[in-house]
């Protein structure tokens, strides 16, 4: 585990919302799984219209949350795992903001591990869970 991998894990966890919304949209509107033989202009409008209807439902149907999966911690798949392993050999243009965020995450992570007497290398793959239910002592003072 290093700061790039920690960043990638949490980034994937937050970014996962877009995968979830795609899942909801495609389950709700099965027409998106077909290829209707309308003109391309019509076909291009269908997904946009369904997005607006999705928001309409989300705004007006209070029970809607019952039909969707819980917000879950992200489990990396191979795709993302490759990206995160490759992070060690990072060679692309770096983003200053990304490095700052990654460093901040890492510093807090190491501090919390030390406070609990856990070495950050001791729990390969399991570092994610140990933050559960510990919101209070986190550095949210910024």
């Amino acid at each position: 585990m290093n700061k790039e991998e920690l960043f990638n894990l949490r980034h994937a966890s937050a970014r996962n919302v877009i995968e979830r919304i795609f899942g909801v949209l495609k389950r709700r509107f099965r027409i998106l799984l077909l290829a209707p033989e309308y003109s391309m202009e019509i076909q291009a409008r269908i997904p946009a219209a369904l997005c607006a209807i999705h928001n309409f439902i989300r705004t007006h149907d209070a029970d809607e949350s019952l039909t969707e999966p819980e917000f879950m911690d992200y489990t990396p798949n191979d795709h993302d795992h490759n990206a995160s392993v490759a992070a060690a050999a990072e060679a692309d243009r770096s983003s200053g903001r990304r490095d700052i965020i990654a460093q901040q995450m890492w510093d807090d992570y190491v501090r919390i591990c030390n406070e609990r007497g856990i070495g950050e290398d001791d729990q390969s793959g399991g570092e994610y869970e140990e933050f559960e239910g510990e919101e209070e002592d986190e550095g949210s003072d910024i």
């Binding site: 877009i18 291009a44 997904p47 969707e68 983003s95």
Partner: protein, 156 residues
Amino acid sequence: MLFAFSSHPFYTKYIQLPTADDPASPTIRENSKLWPYFKDALGALDGSHIHCSPPLNERAASRNRKGFLSQNCLFGCSFELKFVYAYTGWEGSATDARVYEDALLNGLHIPEGKYYLADAGFPCCEELLIPYRGRRYHLAEWGRAGLRYFSAFPSF
């Protein structure tokens, strides 16, 4: 009906881009693994391939890297699971990065200092936060940008 749902006023009422003044997402704020690190994130952005059946002369361009005919649609969503942006109609062979570049000219406004989370198929820039990546990640896609598009949307 389709036009009613995909046009002003219905569409523009229910699909709205966040502004710089909007408060940070409660979903992020309440998660100690994400807050305060992603305090300036407005949501997530990604492309999705939607099946389509184009006319014969456009079929080659519509075939995506998974082998089926599609339009590549770019969607933005908030952490509260609402869409904030949709840009549809690009042929399936277009990369996410290419569609994103075009979306910036078609209504996708990202306020200064804010950004969306995106995957490594998107460019590394101020308006997007992408994961650290290695050389082989998504690289195969980069040489094959689409040359045409079916329609520009949204049209307000």
